[in-house]
Symmetry: C2
Subunit: 351 residues, 2 copies
């Protein structure tokens, strides 16, 4: 089987033959412009979310000369997501929750202004409003099921902050988009933010989000609850960042998780990450399906894809979750790798 | 029958039992800030498109204290549209093609910058790109059929300009959102614009749009062609403004009109307007269904609605077209009037 399933609970049957909408929620975080919590290169960090969703939506990045690439030469996980969108003809619409640079494609605007300063405990002041907007948006999106991903450079730090703020044991457990994972730096940043915002056990989930979250989180949570309420399946497509969204969902509507309609969909690279512990986080939240797609990138012709197996990139732009959907609907994951190999020179301008 | 049908050609059967998406494309026009081509009050003209789609999407206007209201006290046609959305539970998502004020709801951004100066022949420089963006957007919107409306103050002037620019006999034929219709002023503005942009019989449809169109037009045209290509029905929901969109569609893809999947859906107030001639314009374009909804506002408890029968407002925000869909799907139009009457005091804060 090309999907590694933990607590599958019959979830895969709920997404077979269903007509999905894929959406990637993007945001930028001010802190990333001066504290190196993200593995994304600082020269392009402002453009990365836009370039990612452009690639997914129209097959090329418009805000950068090529799709994003990391320091080790690994292509953005948006290349996986685009492969899935084309191979299974998946409708997709993306959501801006405060990217510094706006995509040059039609996109859904929910908040123009970026996520703020995590270390000051001032991530945002409108998490509840963002949740409500996304909830209402969800009611107006027509699909049998939802796959929601993210592109938020620095987003594993905000995930750590929200998980700690909500009382979870998450230190040393969040993954990173780079081989090195600066756990100590991330912990310092969020501990400072939580302290400055005076977060304590009486704080609400929206207080925690406002302090150290990112704007992707209330938006993804609002969409997920909106769909699950209508008895539609939802794949939270991401790694430890989506575990934070799951924790937010649990705070807002504990019962919704009992419907067994919300799953984490990620990559084998996150699930097997020895510097993170997705499973250890999710188990604290509940009996939630964790589904991870296998990609067979160890056999890839492109070094940048082989590097995923060594810990580069790992996940993002919903790559793992949309691949889980595709594989559950009879796509051989080898086709994803081949699609990227065939497009690579065109995307990265190597004639 | 509560729908007046001209050249019906079997269109109504194509929308019965279908699951629609309603979208309202909004734009502002710089010219309206200093030349009185629009019936909308100058104090609120910048806020009107946002307030209209907010009312449709979430049941109240957020960018203005009340939903828009005209000089004679008539409520915005968005009140009709909202009634239809609620009564038939219609999914709706709205598109910004350059409104001065952005809606405070999730909306689809295609162009942040307003339509420019019509009298200078500089309406925009990107009509082709807007068409292409909307075409691709259409491929990612999931629905059996599309109803596309507009809220563009000053939009009957740009409609006149585009129709004249494309060679149609439209002088004195476009409607107006007010009882008085300043035909001479509109003609002067667009003649100036067409001259300054050097539009002649060799100009392309995109040249004409760039000169004297508004940004709603290429967006609505792109969506309509995108849906009709997939054999899905499209209601161009509006009066003479949508006749200009129809003319644009014909220039871009003449054959698509032969599929008989694109209709004009409007109100009885536009169809019966003695100061405009929708039918006379459409007949020059082709054998296109014109469907007009009846509202029985002459019996309304609210004077502002009764004034629609005397020529106030008449149409907008897709009101006529969405009502045609609802009536074709067994809604008694009296319910629309009653819905507005029941909500009126709440919307307009008269306790």
């Amino acid at each position: 089987m090309d999907i590694i399933a933990i607590n599958e609970n019959g979830f895969l049957d709920k997404i077979k033959g269903k007509n999905p909408l894929f959406t990637c929620v993007i945001s930028s975080i001010e802190t990333t412009t001066y504290i190196p919590i993200s593995g994304v290169h600082r020269d392009v960090i402002k453009y990365t979310p836009a370039a990612d969703v452009e690639l997914v939506f129209c097959g090329k990045s418009l805000s950068l000369k090529t799709p994003p690439i990391d320091a080790t030469g690994s292509p953005s996980p948006a290349t996986i997501t685009r492969a899935c969108v084309e191979l299974k003809n998946i409708k997709n619409l993306h959501i801006d929750a405060g990217a510094f640079v706006k995509p040059k494609i039609p996109f859904i605007e929910v908040d123009e202004k970026p996520t703020g300063k995590i270390e000051e405990g001032k991530a945002m002041d409108n998490s509840k409003e963002l949740f409500e907007k996304a909830y209402l948006l969800g009611k107006n999106l027509n699909a049998d099921m939802l796959i929601v991903g993210e592109s938020v450079p620095g987003g594993t730090t905000t995930a750590l902050g929200v998980l700690i703020g909500l009382g979870y044991d998450a230190e040393g457990k969040v993954s990173s988009g780079s081989i090195e994972n600066p756990h100590e730096l991330k912990i310092k940043v969020v501990r400072e933010g939580l302290k400055k915002a005076k977060i304590n056990e009486n704080s609400s989930v929206f207080d925690v989000l406002n302090a150290v979250g990112d704007k992707m989180m209330p938006v993804a949570a609002g969409l997920a609850i909106s769909f699950a309420e209508e008895n539609k399946a939802v794949i939270l497509a991401g790694g430890t960042q989506m575990s934070a969204v799951l924790a937010v969902i649990k705070e807002i509507d504990k019962d919704i998780l009992n419907k067994n309609l919300i799953a984490i969909g990620t990559t084998e690279f996150v699930l097997n990450d020895k510097k993170g512990d997705l499973k250890g986080i999710i188990e604290q939240i509940g009996d939630i399906p964790i589904l991870a797609s296998k990609f067979y990138f160890e056999d890839a012709k492109i070094e940048g894809l082989r590097n995923y197996c060594k810990g580069s990139v790992k996940e993002g732009v919903g790559a793992g979750g949309i691949a889980v959907y595709c594989i559950a609907n009879n796509l051989n994951p080898i086709k994803i790798r081949e699609f990227i190999e065939n497009k690579f020179d065109e995307w990265y301008k190597k004639p």
